[in-house]
């Protein structure tokens, strides 16, 4: 396990370094530079030069990338153009909102999806299996921001059951939870269907395997076999999918935060784009990339911990 962990972590570090370098190169290759983006086309050459120097843009590209990594390791992602506050501080201030949203969304949808998938597999071809099947396919691919807009329209504006804007008063936990209901519903909905299908498929596969037949032959109660043997293994793909799906969750969070005017990483990026606050945009993108790489790494490690075949295969 230790060898696998080291190898997997090493790969993640390499991917992170490559991703950031690539991001840097792409930003430099495309037309439009951060300085004109921030100052506008009419800025005086002196002003441009000053900002270029402040951001280190007058250095050769490899030096810039190197400096960026050194600064990043020190936790320095540059400063906000307007307020001069450190970007890392701003991002950390918004991060909890996004993580709470994503966490709540997965928190309600994964257990429900696993339960539905499990029931569907055990009662195969029953009414509930068919119903789950149709509902899953229907909700899987509907974009989260459409669900956000529709639920905002129906449940907040028309029916007024839930609040429409914001994240609730700080320090008032019930109020904050109340504000989380609709956004978390919108992001989680498609995951219920997705996870249900996934768990159903892997449950059916596992229930047909030899060790389950052996367990049955020993006369173990069916419920025991389902929950202790089959489900434990059938959940594994779900972990991978949530890990890899972190990019989707983050994307969905961007839209949902805008729709419900919630603070968070997504709203931060959009607001910084509209105000041309370039360092904050870069910082937020960087952070979401880091979260994504970390989540895929963790899900791989959990899988390896649960399934010795994975960690011994490489």
């Amino acid at each position: 396990m230790l060898a696998y962990t080291i190898k997997r972590l090493g790969l993640s570090v390499v991917i992170t370094i490559l991703a950031i370098t690539l991001l840097f190169l792409i930003i430099h290759m495309i037309p439009g530079d951060p300085v004109s983006t921030m100052l506008g086309p009419k800025a005086s050459p002196e002003l441009r030069a000053a900002l270029e120097e402040k951001m280190g843009l007058n250095q050769p590209l490899p030096v810039q990338i190197g400096l960026f990594f050194v600064n990043m390791l020190r936790g320095d992602l540059g400063v906000d153009v307007f307020t001069n506050r450190p970007v890392s501080q701003i991002v950390f201030g918004q991060l909890p909102y996004t993580l709470a949203l994503i966490g709540t969304a997965i928190g309600w949808s994964a257990p429900l999806g696993i339960a539905l998938g499990c029931v569907s597999a055990v009662r195969r071809d029953s009414f509930i299996d068919r119903l789950t099947g149709i509902l899953s396919v229907s909700v899987i691919a509907v974009p989260a921001f459409v669900v956000s807009l529709y639920s905002l329209l129906f449940f907040a504006v028309q029916l007024k059951w839930f609040p429409a804007i914001g994240a609730g008063k700080s320090g008032d936990l019930p109020d904050q939870i109340w504000h989380l209901v609709l956004p978390a519903f919108a992001i989680g909905l498609s995951w219920v269907g997705y996870i249900a299908r996934l768990v159903r498929a892997s449950m059916l596969e596992i229930l047909g395997e030899n060790h389950i037949r052996t367990a049955r032959a020993f006369g173990l109660p069916e419920n025991w076999i389902t929950f202790r043997y089959a489900l434990r293994l059938a959940i594994l793909p779900t972990i991978t999918v949530i890990g890899v799906g972190m990019g989707f969750l983050l994307s969905a969070a961007v839209f949902t935060e805008i729709v419900f005017s919630r603070p968070g990483l997504g709203k931060l990026v959009i607001d910084s784009i509209t105000t041309r606050n370039y360092p904050v945009v870069m910082g937020s993108v960087l952070f979401s990339t880091l979260i994504f790489v970390a989540s895929t790494t963790i899900s791989d490690l959990i899988n390896a911990l649960a399934d010795p075949r994975i960690r011994n295969s490489t």
Binding site: L18, I26, T37, V146, L153, V244, Y278, T289
Partner: protein, 291 residues
Amino acid sequence: MEQTLKTRGETAQIFHHLVRDPLGLVGLAIVSIILLSALFADQIVPYDPVALNIPDRLQGPSLTHLLGTDQLGRDTFSRMLMGGRVALQVALPTIAGAMSLGLLLGMIAGYGPRWLDNLILLFFDTIRSFPTVMFALAVVALVGPSLNTVILVIMATSIPTYGRVVRTLTLSLKSAEFITAEKALGATNSRILGVHILPNVLGPMAVIAAMDIPTIVGLEAGLSFLGMGVKPPTPSWGSLLNDGYSLIRNTPWPIIAGGLPLIITTLGFTFLGEALRDVVDPKLRGRGGKK
């Protein structure tokens, strides 16, 4: 495994299977309607989608305006129809580009030497580590909103989806008996790749493409909703939703009109993709949907 999947007879067979599956039939019908309505949008729209008509603004649905009008009196139904064009204008080139590059890189990775395989896999993993929307926003922040930017960014981030599957298929085909036989007969690498491996990879590619289109259409709509895609007054489903969002307390209809075609498109292509997968390759089960 058959040498080529897409001979004429088999294409007809696939179609036959597709139509017999109720899910496939519904999917095919929805997709055809979407394609046709986008293709002939300018002939079937009842009103000019960008024409202003202030006296008739913010109306509810009626026989004259099927889905009502927006804050400038523009006919929402006409805007919805024209929006389908933008959606396909983005989705089709994106899919074509991502699929071609994915095919090329995937076949090189699967067929080429081990070090090249590792290098390309690392490249795929790196690209996949950018959350698409965040990445798109960063690029748009620099070059300004445009559909071409949206196409390029989504294309780039979709390459690994195709490339990884092509690589796996190529790897398993590489050691298939009929390939070994071809090699023994002295076939060149380009012949093996072009004549034998490519046709066998295309079927699964079509399945992934069908499943991927809703994701891309959704992304375009999402970015246009954020004002990062189409420029006004061009109607797209995303800009319809954006208009509707700012009018949410006045009229529900633009939001309903922008969201409904997105949901229908998604369902149509997903049904079609699922049915296609069952016909083309049952082994691909569970590959579609989220990346």
